[in-house]
Amino acid sequence: MALEILVSAIIDGVALGFIFLLLSLGLSVIFGLMRIVNFAHGSMFLWGAYIGYEVSSRTGNLLAGILASASITGLMGFLIEYLLLKRLREPLTQAIITIGLMLLLDRVAWLRWGDITYIWLPPELEGTILLGPTIIYKYRLFVIVVGIVLLIAVYIFFNRTRYGMIIRAGIDDREMIQAFGVNIERVFTGIFVVGSVLAGVAGSILVPWQGVYPTLGINYLLYAFAIVVIGGVGSIGGTMVASLLAGLAQQLSAYYAPYLAEPSIFLLMLAVLMLRPSGLLRV
């Protein structure tokens, strides 16, 4: 009996971990490369979720929702970076700009959609699979599959392409890659857009599972901050490990000790930071 619960807890944890990964990867790279504490990232997540819900519930197609939210959050990210952040390259001042954006975007979403929790599940992914005595939700399995595909894509992007190499080098030493003739401003814009797209996709994938409600953005932003710090600021591999750890920690505690579900990720962060202040994988 205990084993079935453990198995479904682990599956849920891994699925949540992949959503965390999509959300916090962009945050981590923006953090590492541009030195921006991007408070607007949670709002991107929230808007991605709302747009994903609107489009996919109207067309009846999950993929359409994901694509729509990816393109719209990408556009939003581009506008934010091009019109606002690019004008002032000062970390703390940029933080204030993103705080302003967070207040603004979250409130506009609240004015449009209100306090209701929206949830929409594509009919073909509804229901469960029975694996012996274990109950597995189809949609969470789907999230894991999508997550693995995206994980491989991200790995190839960062380790096998020129752009990934520029980004990794930029996190290490910003001046040096400028000296090699890379236009860092263009890289900044690109990475901000990619981060926003990833956050939007993560939001639209979360909708069929947990629904979307007005405080979703700020809740998940705090989780993402915690994950980024656990993994080590700017460390891509660290963020991957930390996301899965955080997802597992949250779902396991949700199954076994529900009162720890909310603070579990922060407890994990506290433990990691006390032992290794620079994060799990940061050298």
């Binding site: 004008r87 204030i96 302003g100 710090v229 506290l270």
Partner: protein, 403 residues
């Protein structure tokens, strides 16, 4: 002499409720009182951020501690409010030291910001739990009875006593300078101070008289105004003194180059812990005042992570250097927010967000910078124009537009 003029400004500010009432905006009195309370909080935040480079996202912890300690002391133990503030201060300082022990291994930068945020969130999650309703008040909050101090007229005797001291001090300086025939300038401003103080004194007596005849809510709000103003001035002067002392210089040297300060023989941890304790004590004072101001506190208002973020907003919109910037930032942001909330309803946060972005884009150095250097105001729009006209994809040289 500077301190005498500061005292006069303080007295004039403490007379402001009378003027505001006579032109019929008595609501502004309580808004201003709130903005002074937030200024104290902003000062404690800016002290850490500006002089040690410590971005404390858990700063609301001290604020909430002060607020809840005030609630416990007044509700459960019945301690008079005069003692409540110092007791909360001691606990705030202790909490600051405890927090610095927790972050000992990562005392600075982003890890520091997030460990403190985590500690705050732990307390926040603990206090929002239903099981702890008895001590946290949950959503309804804890109701705090208004202390005796605020229903009497005692507080308004503080500025009165100050003017009396000013007059005696000025007379003393005049007599002394007359005897020794020293600096004439000093005695001239002393002569100017005496009639001014006398006028202010009579106005203050008028104020006390009018407070005594007021309905209770109005009396409380004026008293709270004077109390928070007095505390703000006292805290500000204390911080100024600390920053000018060797301790403040050591803090700055740690901010500039930590390893150098360490190799010169300063124990960096102890100095940072001292700063955390001082800042925690000050933030606890502001929380303590807030508890009386709001007379109903819940975890959502006191331990919220958003409050820590507001510390950052206050100090950056006002400007970190000089430290008075955070006071100006807190007052400006609070008043604007209250007014927008009155007129815009659900849209208020949208406007607040737009406002923050506009202020930061047009005045990147904070509002205080422009008050201290008025000649740069005309550059404000030029900075913005320059930022938007330049071709965005060039590697721009980072230059100070005001330099």
């Amino acid at each position: 002499m500077r301190i005498a003029w500061l005292a006069i400004i303080y007295t004039i500010l403490s007379l402001l409720p009378l003027a505001l009432e006579s032109i019929g905006v008595s609501r502004l009195v309580s808004i201003l009182a709130f903005s002074y309370i937030m200024s104290i909080y902003a000062l404690s935040f800016a002290l850490l951020l500006g002089y040690l480079g410590l971005l404390n996202f858990g700063h609301a912890l001290f604020f909430g501690l002060g607020a809840y300690l005030t609630a416990y002391q007044t509700i459960w133990w019945g301690i008079p409010y005069v003692l409540v503030i110092p007791i909360s201060m001691i606990f705030g300082a202790a909490a600051g030291f405890l927090l610095s022990l927790i972050v000992r291994r990562a005392f600075g930068g982003i890890p520091f910001a997030f460990i403190t945020l985590t500690v705050l969130l732990m307390v926040y999650f603990l206090y929002t739990r239903r099981e702890l309703r008895a001590i946290s008040g949950s959503e309804q909050g804890l109701l705090i009875p208004t202390p005796q101090l605020l229903t009497s007229t005692i507080i308004s005797y503080i500025p009165l006593a100050l003017t009396a001291i000013l007059i005696t001090a000025s007379i003393y300086t005049i007599l002394r300078s007359g005897k020794s025939g020293s600096k004439a300038g000093a005695s001239r401003s002393s002569i100017a101070i005496i009639p001014l103080s006398l006028i202010l004194m009579s106005a203050l007596i008028l104020l006390i008289d009018s407070i005594a005849n007021r309905a209770e809510p109005l009396r409380i709000s004026i008293n709270l105004y004077i109390l928070s103003l007095t505390t703000l001035i006292a805290v500000h002067m204390a911080i100024k003194k600390i920053l000018e002392s060797p301790l403040g210089l050591i803090w700055i040297s740690i901010r500039e180059n930590e390893s150098r300060a360490a190799s010169l023989g300063y124990n960096v941890f102890i100095y940072k812990a001292i700063a955390m304790s001082i800042s925690g004590a000050i933030a606890a004072v502001s929380g303590s005042l807030y508890a009386v101001y709001a007379f109903n506190i819940n975890p959502e208002r006191t331990f919220s992570p958003l409050l820590s973020v507001y510390g950052l907003i206050y100090s950056l919109i006002g400007g970190l250097y000089p430290i008075e910037g955070s006071i100006i930032g807190a007052i400006v942001v609070t008043i604007i927010e209250r007014f927008i909330a009155d007129y815009a309803g659900g849209w208020s946060l949208v406007f607040v967000g737009v406002l923050f972005i506009t202020i930061v884009l047009t005045m990147p150095h904070g509002i205080a910078y422009y008050i201290w250097n008025p000649s740069t105001i005309k550059n404000t729009l030029k900075v913005l124009k320059k930022a938007y006209r330049s071709t965005p994809y060039k590697n721009k040289e980072q230059t100070n537009p005001y330099g």
